[in-house]
């Protein structure tokens, strides 16, 4: 697809936007996985929050 004499500027603008948005998505997805993994590890070692203890019978 050609956009005339300013194709480079248009493609660069869309590429930068895609790169930044992809970075944001990667940040939230990887951060979520990391926090879930840490919580899983802590729970395996028997560490629970006070709110969780209250829920236990």
């Amino acid at each position: 697809m050609s956009f005339g004499p300013h194709t480079d500027f248009i493609v660069a603008a869309y590429a930068v936007t895609a790169f930044v948005v992809a970075g944001l998505i990667a940040w939230v997805v990887l951060d979520y996985a990391a926090q879930r993994r840490i919580i899983g590890d802590l729970e395996e070692r028997g560490v629970t929050r006070r709110a969780q203890r209250k829920d236990e019978p």
Binding site: F3, A12, V16, D31, I39, L42
Partner: protein, 246 residues
């Protein structure tokens, strides 16, 4: 579910887990429609094909400012009601708002070179948006470098409310000062001055960017709640170990 129940982090997490997949799907669909319409929009009679950059630049500018408005509302929640979710909302919005402001600045420079003949000028609109970006970085530094989340949140909330004065300056800078940046052509008294063939794709892209903002914000809020749970669990673990040793 009463709205007040969402102030409970556990219930909020349950709601986010339910809503997020739908929000992701609607955001992707809106982007697909918006991108298709943007690519098939006619060239502008003066700017030619470079008007396609507007479909990114204008929504990013709106969302950059909206991010600060969301953070300002959250800052009030932190300082006035001292609600932990308000603090979470403020912290989660900062990187998302900063990213949209960055997109606005870069796409603006790439649009400015072929239309104005320069990437950058120190005019009121461009400078006030750059200040917004720097304020975002400052707030993020306060949130992420504080050892105790509550203390960092209060400092960040104060900076957020002080920085909120920049939002009307950005909006009205093109009216108050003589700027290279064009005046408002969409949100203005008397209606938009853009033809429907370009305005409709722009509004669809703005809708897609707004959905993306809230999707990322909710996901980041979920991560922040989990991060605080990790902190609490580690503190409890350290306390248990200290008690066992004494």
């Amino acid at each position: 579910m009463p709205v007040i129940d969402l102030a409970n982090p556990t219930r909020f997490l349950a709601l986010v887990n339910r809503v997020l997949p739908w929000l992701v799907a609607v955001t992707a669909l809106t982007f697909a429609i918006g991108f298709y319409r943007a690519m098939h929009a006619p060239d502008d009679y003066q700017q030619g094909a470079t008007v396609k950059i507007m479909f990114l630049h204008v929504p990013a500018a709106w969302l950059g400012m909206m991010g600060w408005v969301v953070m300002s509302a959250a800052a009030l929640g932190t300082l006035v009601w001292r609600h932990p979710l308000a603090d979470v909302a403020g912290k989660a919005a900062a990187p998302v708002g900063a990213a949209f402001t960055f997109i606005c600045l870069v796409t603006g420079a790439l649009w400015g070179r072929p239309t104005w003949g320069t990437y950058w000028v120190w005019d009121a609109r461009l400078t006030s948006v750059l200040i917004l970006f720097l304020l975002y970085l400052g707030v993020m530094a306060l949130y992420w470098t504080a050892e105790e989340p509550g203390r960092g949140a209060r400092a960040a909330a104060i900076l957020t409310l002080v920085g909120a004065v920049n939002i009307p300056i950005i909006k009205f800078s093109v009216d108050w000062w003589n700027t290279l940046h064009q005046p408002a052509s969409i949100v203005r008294l008397g209606g938009a001055t853009i033809d429907a063939s370009i305005l409709v794709p722009l509004l669809i892209m703005a809708g897609a960017f707004t959905l993306l903002f809230f999707t990322l914000h909710l996901a980041a809020m979920r991560n922040e709640i989990l991060r605080r749970r990790v902190r609490t669990m580690r503190l409890l673990q350290a306390q248990t170990l200290a008690e066992a040793r004494s």
